[in-house]
Symmetry: C3
Subunit: 340 residues, 3 copies
């Protein structure tokens, strides 16, 4: 899809400096800008690239003052990053149309109801006693068990499985293959070395404005609820165990796992491949670096942790830089021993 710069400036409330009739069909990173593409400059670290870029146009903030001559066209907006995301949103709305109606064959259990404006794709399965809100999109191959509630405007992508008794809020998006409400991993050891399954009779509650990534798994509670609070964003292949609670606006990157009954605070950021043991609490605004393991509660909010058994990231980095030079440190000790 091609747009000229005047059209784009209209979309994002900006002004063209240069030739508004030139067209672009692509967004490039500024350091890789090529003709036919539009880039943006938001971070001053990248300023040098604007003087060399071959991009047709660059979105800049209105207070940007070039230090050297610029050969590309500019679109000036109040905030360059905001303007860039507005451009993406506008483009997205133009190209990704919502689906409506019901494709066949599909399965719709008795006593279930769906609000106006929604979509159910072919091979979707809705169990009994479900309530789907307005404008809910149920894509093909979605499984929804019994007694499930889904709020308005929520999008369930293909092949998602939502087990019985789950409650999903408004404006949520659950990406392909995610599993919501599978049994928690609870087994009671028996005297003969075998294990007996502990029934998992709770559910999952997902509040409004939550995003769940592809092939992520969220187990139901043993009893009570596993709760994902308002505004939480979860990436692909994440594991959320039974009875976990994730606080509002917390972000969890791919392949992270959170063990049973742990409670994560609000506005935390968990990077990729983090692991957190069960039955602990993580304070609000905690940042946990990639691959970090957390084995104890974090009581003070706002800390940044890192390491196999995580501690403050600055301290970890100091220790790790010495770890990298341990052979030399050992040599110094040998030298001292020789002298004495």
């Amino acid at each position: 899809m091609e747009f000229n710069l005047n059209q784009i400036a209209g979309l994002i409330h900006g002004k063209v400096e240069g030739d508004g009739n030139q067209t672009v069909s692509r967004i490039d990173k500024i350091q890789e800008g090529q003709p036919g593409g539009i880039s943006f400059l938001s971070n001053e670290k990248y300023e040098n690239f604007i003087y060399e870029t071959k991009a047709t146009a660059v979105i800049v903030s209105e207070d940007f003052v070039p230090a050297k001559p610029i050969s590309c066209n500019l679109i000036r907006v109040k905030n360059a990053y905001t303007g860039f995301t507005q451009l993406l949103e506008a483009y997205s709305q133009m190209t990704k149309k919502s689906s409506f109606g019901v494709e066949q064959p599909s399965f719709f259990g008795e006593y279930s109801i769906q609000g106006e404006g929604g979509f159910r794709g072919a091979f979707s399965y809705i169990g009994k006693n479900c309530t789907l809100g307005k404008n809910v999109q149920i894509h093909p191959h979605t499984y929804i068990g019994n007694n499930v509630k889904i709020g308005d405007n929520t999008i369930i992508h293909p092949g998602v499985k939502i087990c019985s008794d789950s409650v999903i809020g408004n404006n949520c998006e659950i990406h392909p293959g995610a599993v919501i409400g599978s049994d928690g991993f609870g087994f009671a050891p028996q005297e003969d070395g075998t294990y007996k399954a502990i029934p998992q009779i709770g559910n999952v509650i997902i509040e409004d404005d939550v995003s769940i990534g592809a092939n992520t798994t969220i187990d139901c509670a043993t009893m009570g609820s596993t709760i994902i609070k308002r505004g939480v964003k979860i990436d692909n292949l994440v594991q959320i165990a039974h009875n976990v609670i994730i606080g509002e606006n917390t972000v969890i990157a791919s392949q992270t796992g959170i063990s049973g009954s742990t409670e994560i605070g609000k506005n935390c950021v968990l990077a990729g491949q983090v692991g957190i043991v069960g039955h602990i609490k993580i304070a609000d605004k905690t940042i946990i670096g990639a691959k970090t393991g957390i084995s104890r509660s974090i009581d003070v909010s706002g800390r940044t942790l890192f390491g196999l058994i995580g501690f403050d990231i600055k301290d970890f980095m100091k220790s790790y830089s010495i770890f990298k030079n341990l052979p030399q440190l050992q040599d110094r000790i040998k030298e001292l021993e020789k002298k004495l």
Copy 2:
């Protein structure tokens, strides 16, 4: 669902001390007990909470002697933890009814047979020459290839994929989205830098009483069988590579990966995000801590290992506590060097 305490005492063979007509509708942890909930006290570490809890009732063992006055009702049973799990099981059986019959549309390949009392959900796919035992539940969107055998009373949850030639035992439970029998990851490097797929012609054998978690993947053997032995419990998002053998009653937590041809002993416990290289053996009763990497065979049973390249957990913890203080250790060496 609400029960009074007399009903619960009946279910778990206990005696009420207090008002048996009071009702509960929820199980709470004892430290979070609230009116309308029932808790249990099994671990003496939590004893203090029973003197303060607002729970309507607490299940305790028959030999429990309160050290202070107690305001909640008690239900005394032989063993409080066993009583608690009995309560869960009873509740679970009351509320989670099995499904029966065949929903349509579903696909059932030629020469396949299914025993009495079973269920096949809408959009389930059974290939050719399959044998499903009695009371097997095949939930919606399940894919089962050709020549698959499934034992009695096994539950296959929605969206599970069981590839051709797999053998599944009795009383197994395979949770949503799990993949059983996908091709092993085997490629022969060619002289030009490309790779050629090595055909994976083996299968997966899952013995009785095995549980497999949501979105877990178990690859078929290159030739022969990948074997999950009786009583093994596997959590969500676990990777089991080709030709792996998992010994009886071993428990594997979420996001752990086991590489090709490795053999895990009986009654092992692998915590979350563990990684084990291929072609090694792990002795019986080995415990492997979260995020641990294992690169060599473990010959002695009963060890507990931890670390990026795992070794005995006590030794790891000693080394790690010094690692955290490496800057100070380095300072002490500097001080010594200065003095000499």
Copy 3:
């Protein structure tokens, strides 16, 4: 399935030394060889086993000269490992027949076309405007969105989800449950602590001869394309984020995650559970050990890295061996301090 040794020798262009009428039905590792099985000897480390094996036959290279008497039959071929893989391939072609035609019910969107010789399984879903090449196998429960292109001879296993606008090459194989083209994980932080989704309007391009593992997830680009180049082999449960580029013939083992906009070179090997941050470049022929984290670009090709924050594996191993003995090192410092 049983073959006699003459038949096998015919298949792999070898010569039998011994009784060509004896039959085998199984391939065993040479160290575990049992009657009725055939093994191969390629690596001289395993030579001792050939003098003790109970295997019915062993495939050896034509220049193999036994150092001791051998009791099993031999099949001599030019290269024993190649002969072994030829045997697997021949067996695989005999037993794993391709499927043809269209099973019902299945869904095929308007303006979509499929080339000759292909298969579409029951409950498969093909959106609008899709182009499927010749001999494409679409197995049951596959979801394919709109505007998807798939090249000739590609196999899409059960339950794969390929989102709209994806482009898949020739001779690819995508294993069960994989998700291709799900939304990238991009959210703009707002002033009130919430996050706003950044539209992900790009796609995924998978070139020829690529293999994608079970339940692996590959996100679409924010804008532009996430690109998996020719000959790449990806294992199960791997995460590839938006705008990542994977170079030709790179191999990625299970549970590895690659963050957004990172570019991996050609002919790299990433072991299991590796994690790579976003926005970096990894040089060609880099080898990254299991569980390694990579936080900076790797500029020099051919390095082997290891560690939580990876550096050269030899240096890591030296430091780690001292780490394991840190308590003793600390004692030596104490001793020195005492003496001074």
